[in-house]
Amino acid sequence: MTDPAATTPAVLAEGLVKRYGGVAVVDGIDLTVRRGECFGLLGPNGAGKTTTLRMLLGLTPPDGGRLTVLGEPVPLRAREVRARVGVVPQADNLDPDFTVRENLITYASYFGLSKREVGPRIDALLEFAALDQRSAARVPTLSGGMKRRLTLVRALINDPELVVLDEPSTGLDPQARQHIWQRLRQLRADGRTLILTTHYMDEAERLCDRLAIMDRGRVVACDTPEALVAAAAAGLRYLQRPANLEDVFLQLTGHDLRE
């Protein structure tokens, strides 16, 4: 790799802070996401995961700290960064008035890509999402899993270096989750960087090279899933089974309900 851009981390956050009404939702976090890895953000509801993702995209202006995404300062050059990033939001925001294909054509137009330019790419993406038979279907007729797959490939329309996913498999049945996971592994194998938030320990354990556990706006642990489990295993000796990531998570963030 001689390209200097490829040697900078995908994300470098130092002392990132976001406050709402005096309350720090993100409270001075440091994160480094390496190029080509799948990085997970774990945490209970309200831990600051989504706010962190929004800051990475330049959609939430931080109140303090430094942030660089794909070598560009954010939020100063957030728009240029978003041209190289794919976003899979938590809530479905597909265009209900359009067909599957029209959704992709329209989204491509937001990147300045013409219908003719992206035509072949859309065919490939529809196949990737197993939606090639449904390209003329209107969005309201799709199942939850299909919508999620369409949202995923919509995020790939600009051939992004980094894909940001906010709870990519929430609300999906096991088959649909398996399909999404398999596709995410493929994206990583293509050399893309993935950042995802999740509540699911199995998802984090299967997909992520490294993960950060967030709680109350802070990063309370950050390592590979194996290392996190190993490090916490000492404190979990009372268990009658080998420790897993869920044990680590609850040990770090407590058992109290958050909402």
């Binding site: 959609l59 202006p61 942030l67 660089t68 300062p73 100063l76 978003r82 359009f98 937001y110 300045g112």
Partner: protein, 269 residues
């Protein structure tokens, strides 16, 4: 390589809007949706003015006869071109824009792509203005078919309508930017649009009003739009065109600046 600590963010939201041709992607997206529903939409644009012309032009007009030299149906047709542009543009910038912002989260999807809030607001404003052009054109077609137009120069009303539509859209977008539900828009209709409709010379000349109210009417854009469009549509020559066009233009520029700032504050939190 790393960004410095950003300035206090409210200051960033307070900046002037940055205009870019990227707004065209937003405009085209709305056009693509509209094309699917084009037929009923256009029929709607024809239907309402025809009713107005029947009711006011033939019904009321038979009693009134003439306004000055002008047959009442000609007077009212030229006024409705303007008021219909106002309602079409405002409706789009209120209800439809709000739907795309909140209900459908279309704007959220756009903000995940390399579009800025300013691009979206400009795209919505120009789109609403474009729709006012459609509704004004529909009325001109009906008026032309009824022989109510003064001549070819009626088409010169269209660029005026586009500018007016932009002004109405930007003002309505301010309301959308601070609204928490659709219900809030009723205040804007009741307190702003309806008085403007009744006082701006659409149904009767402004000089019929008490002087003070007439002066107030000219603080709002619709009266100025009527002053230019009515002569163009009825075969006369408008006077003080620059002054009359400056008012909707000023509404567009000032309102756009305010609206884009409010939307930045609302969406980039």
């Amino acid at each position: 390589m790393t960004a410095a600590v950003p300035p206090p963010r409210d200051a960033a939201h307070r900046r002037l809007p940055r205009l870019s041709l990227r707004f065209l992607a937003v405009w085209r997206r709305n056009l693509r949706v509209w094309r699917r529903l084009m037929l009923p939409s256009i029929l709607g644009h024809f239907g309402e003015p025809v009713l107005y012309l029947l009711a006011f032009g033939y019904g009321l007009g038979a009693l009134i006869g003439h306004v000055g030299e002008m047959e009442y149906i000609v007077f009212i047709a030229s006024g409705i071109v303007c008021s219909s542009a106002m309602f079409t543009s405002s409706f789009e910038a209120l209800y439809s824009a709000y739907t795309r912002m909140e209900t459908q989260q279309t704007w959220a999807a756009m903000l995940g792509a390399p579009l800025d809030v300013d691009d979206i607001v400009l795209g919505e404003a120009v789109w609403a203005a474009s729709k006012s052009l459609v509704s004004a054109s529909a009325i001109l077609v009906v008026a032309g078919a009824l022989g109510l137009l003064g001549g070819w120069q009626a088409v010169l009303a269209l660029p005026v309508i586009l500018l007016a539509g932009l002004g109405f859209a930007c003002t309505a977008l301010i309301v959308t930017a601070v609204s928490r539900s659709y219900d809030f828009f009723m205040y804007y209709f009741t307190l702003v649009l309806t008085p403007m409709l009744l006082l701006s010379g659409v149904f009767f000349p402004v000089d019929q009003l008490p002087a003070l109210i007439g002066t107030l009417a000219y603080l709002l854009p619709l009266a100025h739009v009527v002053e230019v469009v009515r002569p163009l549509v009825t075969g006369g020559t408008p006077e003080a065109v620059a002054l009359h066009l400056a008012v909707p233009a000023a509404y567009a520029v000032v309102s756009f600046t305010i609206a884009s700032r409010l939307f930045r504050r609302r969406l980039l939190r």
